[in-house]
Symmetry: C4
Subunit: 370 residues, 4 copies
């Protein structure tokens, strides 16, 4: 990726499409697809430029068919055709490519068939960063979450039956059956409260008040569970990403295994594209960086210094003078380990030898750059 | 359970029913009961197939009566009849069996009597996993939760009196009494906001705005309390379940008591039925397992290896090669202790002797399976 | 308190009223006051029994006047009259006693004057347990909470101005002035959503959608802040209450100061009235108790054993046999320190000498009670 | 600041305005600006006193123009004119000064032009304490927050398309296009629930119920993420502020680096203006203080003692007698380090030498003050 020119050729694009990640054209196609589907249903807009909208929708569809075919061929080439077809991505890709044409062939009106383009947005799912993290939280906490859901459903059903019994004679149009009462109960228990259906009898209102307060409780439990799970997952995710990177920094090699576990819990991994300015001269600094992979360039007054894998920088801002003294920019795709000011101090306090190494290096640099 | 055939005989079913846990037929009866009660109230559906619905409802009821009788006899046999009758389960079982018939006998119309079938859903309560955990949180945090509830009720009452005073002349139909104003206050303070009753005077609206903001605050406090309690409870629950299991794994026997407490906090217990695949070849792995009880089968290319109580597996994915190298399946109902990648590394760092044991075993296996 | 008979004399009641805590008659008076004020406004109820309601209201008022006078005299006797009058309790007591009579004298109608009885509920405030804890959380987190409030108000104002500008020509009745638009904005930003006022222009709806999403954000921040503060406060509160009690248990005296700090973080203080059953024979047990003050009685088959300050009990359930082997009841008002199963194991692991002491005592008791 | 008289001269005010912080007149101008803009739109109020309102609005505007000019000149003097102009504050100051006049010149009616005064409230933003903290939380947690936002938008779009398809024939006025359906979807997914647009078909209501429950989920995730981030940020912020101050207290100099890190995590920094009473005689005390900078005066019965940088006070309340024995007041702007009772005990337990120093000092003082 770091060698590609700014205008990739078609073959490069095909390779990118066949790969796992979303390409920029795909994002463009999905976004415009969403906008076009909306415009299609707005009568004045569609009347004014229906040729354009139709043409662009077909173009979006063509792109998704093209993407699907490329991925199918690529998967077949790698002998994983079945695996691809039945994966979540394969199903979404197929639905994106085929749903609209099939609907059109099956005789649906144009206005209805294009609505199936709503599946296009699902293509974004594998590209959402942090989704894996969210999913793990939901899996780990599924037990208590399901308990709350069951309680939610039980309250829903019992409240509906009670309200049906109390209100069916007063307002048969709104509470004439339990499914109708369920509509009221869902809107109330989630504290949405449309107000289109409202109990009128005193006892019905008392039960409704109870349902609303239960709604607050369900909400609170749900949030409490998710917050707990999320806190644990964040710690875990951070540890895992840092662990791999720490092993590549010779600086930490001198530490014993328990100190490494200690350090790993403090570091935060960040991935940067090339030509990104990490530190800007004159800014206030509150962290230092270790280079796990890649390369950065320090832009000093007279000269440029290149730091490679295993080097560290930004430590001066943590050792007294608060302002950054030089611009520092990545020259390659780099993975950095960020050490926050707070953790820096805790680390230095616990491992005085690390502190000395950093101090010595900082002094050497200060002398050099005078 | 592990010896029972797939088609249990009636006597087996009776034994299961008499026991503490829900049986599959009970889940079926409850689910269909709920659906049938709903259908009963949907006029077109009931008109079309009222024989079927009535018949099935009677069948559900018969099942619950049968269940209640079996449990009563079983409890009487064990000399715990009174204990069962006055327990939550006993009361729910009795209500499920008797409420509808009593209502019918007492002269209620069929459509009304069957509504009492709503108590059937309460039978699910003892079967909800994690309910005990939720209840403990509510008990432990009951102090602050009640404080918030009292504040909630005070705001409710004072807002109702104020709005009654301000709005009673403007809209006597909606704010004609304090109970009527309470209806508005509950819907507002829980941020449900039906909108059927809305203050119209400027001062009334100012108070309403305050009530809404209080609603946010109550919500926030409630959630904050529950989140705090839940985090503590999750830690506790996990520790308790692991502690018992750890003592059955000889691997941990060499650890001192403080290290065992350490390990216990890291492990997560999972219970699996027989013939469940735990690890699938080629998947990415991020945890290892210890067998607390039961047995698993490792499906290697040429042979099958059986691992029993106290053995461990899955450690290779944590020691370098990320992909699982074999399918592993339970052959009996098993309790496993899962050690996450993160905790594995922390544990190895703190207890180098453990690391050596696992390393040695992993090398031995790698040689063997070559 | 432990010596008082079940029917306290008037002088005892006066003493209790003069003290800090709420008395039972006060709770009765407040509750009935609230119910009576409500009934007063319900026309059919008031018409049916207005003599009774009026008489009871006067009785409530008389009680509050009596309470106020006693407290005034008691405070004057202790030389703290001014301090009492200007404290929160003094102001509430004065308002409860004087508001209604003053309103009646000032010529307000009876129906209006009694509404001022709503201040009666404020008398409950000093009696709410955990309120001090809630207040500390609000004080400690006041910085971030106020920031969120300022952001809330800014969004409110700017959204109102924008909607006023966009909607004033379309629906002058609803958005005819900024205060009117504010009414809409509050109901929307708190996600109450009455729906009585709704923007109609496309741009107005876009802004409204933004306001709703901001509402979610404000909610989330608020809750997050409160959850954080609450977790810290719970830890602190528990520590403080246990610290005092630990020093009274000789069992912990052998521990060094850091171990005591350790133990204190694990214990949970509970205060019990006399004749409360702490442990019931046959129940599953998951904690043991230390007696910080008071006395308990162990009801063994043949005899009754009394345990006093500094003793512990319930440890057998933690050392193997899960079911409690005897009923244990307080004979005096007692303060117990509860040690949870989880913490018991952690503590035993870290302090093997404690484990031995408990083991020895448990064996001695087992022998004795055979 | 501590030397300025109570009535600052104009030149002092200009200096204050040029500085970073908000001045009191600025707060007054913003508050009255907001009130005036509101009154402008309330017809009866404006009719009654339109001369006054107009005059005051012009005065507010004049103040903001004056503020902007001073800051521009000051920035130009410091050679940072461009930096100021394109900073957030510069843009807000410019908009506050210029928006209304430009609108008036461009021919907008007076009632419309003054609405642009809503930008005035943005001037408060740099003055909000804790905003930086909130922003850091949002930045650090931006990954998961964005994931949730993307999921939110996907649910929004797909629900809108589905409802449009299901409801367009039944209620073309409300669900006639996807943007119209989006309006319903936003109000539902945020659980606002206006109720102005409500699905009527059974399938439409089923989807709506799903959307409401998703709304609860999104809410829960959002809050969980923010709570996690906020807890981490609070710890970090507190540590950073204490670290600097600790180094100024000689009392802690004897501690090793790891103990200092330990202490720093426990201390809480508070900044106080001069003549603030920190401790009031007779109050219950639950913390002690170290003076990081500034000076306090202890008001003992016979004499006044002045304590300067590095001294500590309030420790007696933590060493046995619960009530404060003297009033203590700042005599200068001071930064204090507060040590809570809980942390005091933990600290004393871990560092017995510290405990001795404090004990010795406390005894010396007790003797002296006899």
């Amino acid at each position: 990726m770091s060698q590609s020119s700014r205008f990739p050729s078609l073959s490069q694009f095909v390779t990118a499409t066949a790969g796992r990640n979303m390409t920029k054209p795909a994002y463009v196609a999905i976004t415009s697809g969403v906008v076009l589907i909306m415009l299609l249903t707005v009568d004045p807009a569609y009347a004014a430029m229906h040729y354009l909208i139709d043409a662009l929708l077909w173009a979006c569809l063509a792109f998704f068919v093209f993407e699907w075919v490329i991925r199918l061929r690529h998967a077949a080439g790698a002998g994983r055709r079945a695996a691809y077809i039945f994966s979540f991505r394969g199903i979404v890709d197929a639905a994106s490519a085929l749903a609209v044409p099939i609907a059109l062939v099956a005789g649906a009106s144009s206005g209805t068939a294009w609505l199936l383009g709503m599946f296009w947005v699902l293509k974004v799912v594998p590209g959402i960063r942090g989704l894996r993290q969210l999913r793990r939280v939901l899996v780990v906490e599924s037990g208590p979450l399901l308990s709350v859901l069951v309680i939610f459903l039980m309250v829903l059903f019992m409240a509906s039956v009670a309200e049906f019994f109390l209100e069916r004679d007063v307002q048969p149009a709104n509470f004439g059956s339990i499914p109708a009462a369920l509509w009221w109960a869902v809107a109330t228990l989630t504290t949405t409260g449309y107000g289109d259906v409202v109990p009128l009898t005193p006892l019905g209102r008392l039960i409704a008040a109870g349902v609303m307060i239960c709604g607050l409780g369900v909400f609170g439990l749900w949030t409490g569970i998710l917050a707990t799970g999320f806190a644990a997952e964040t710690r875990r995710d951070n540890f895992l990403r840092s662990w791999e990177a720490v092993s590549k920094v010779p600086f930490f090699a001198s530490l014993g295994p328990s100190a490494i576990a200690d350090v790993t819990q403090m570091l935060r991994t960040i991935d940067l594209p090339m030509r990104t300015t990490i530190i800007r001269k004159g800014q206030a600094g509150d962290c230092m960086y270790f280079i796990a992979s890649g390369e950065v360039e320090v832009d000093l007054p007279g000269k440029k210094i290149v730091l490679g894998e295993g080097a560290f920088f930004g430590e001066m801002a943590l050792l007294g003078n608060n302002l950054r003294s030089a611009d520092i920019t990545t020259t390659r795709v780099s993975r950095l380990l960020m050490l926050d000011l707070v953790d820096f101090r805790l680390l230095m306090a616990r491992h005085p030898d690390l502190a000395e190494t950093i101090d010595a290096e900082a002094k050497r640099r200060a002398l050099e750059n005078k």
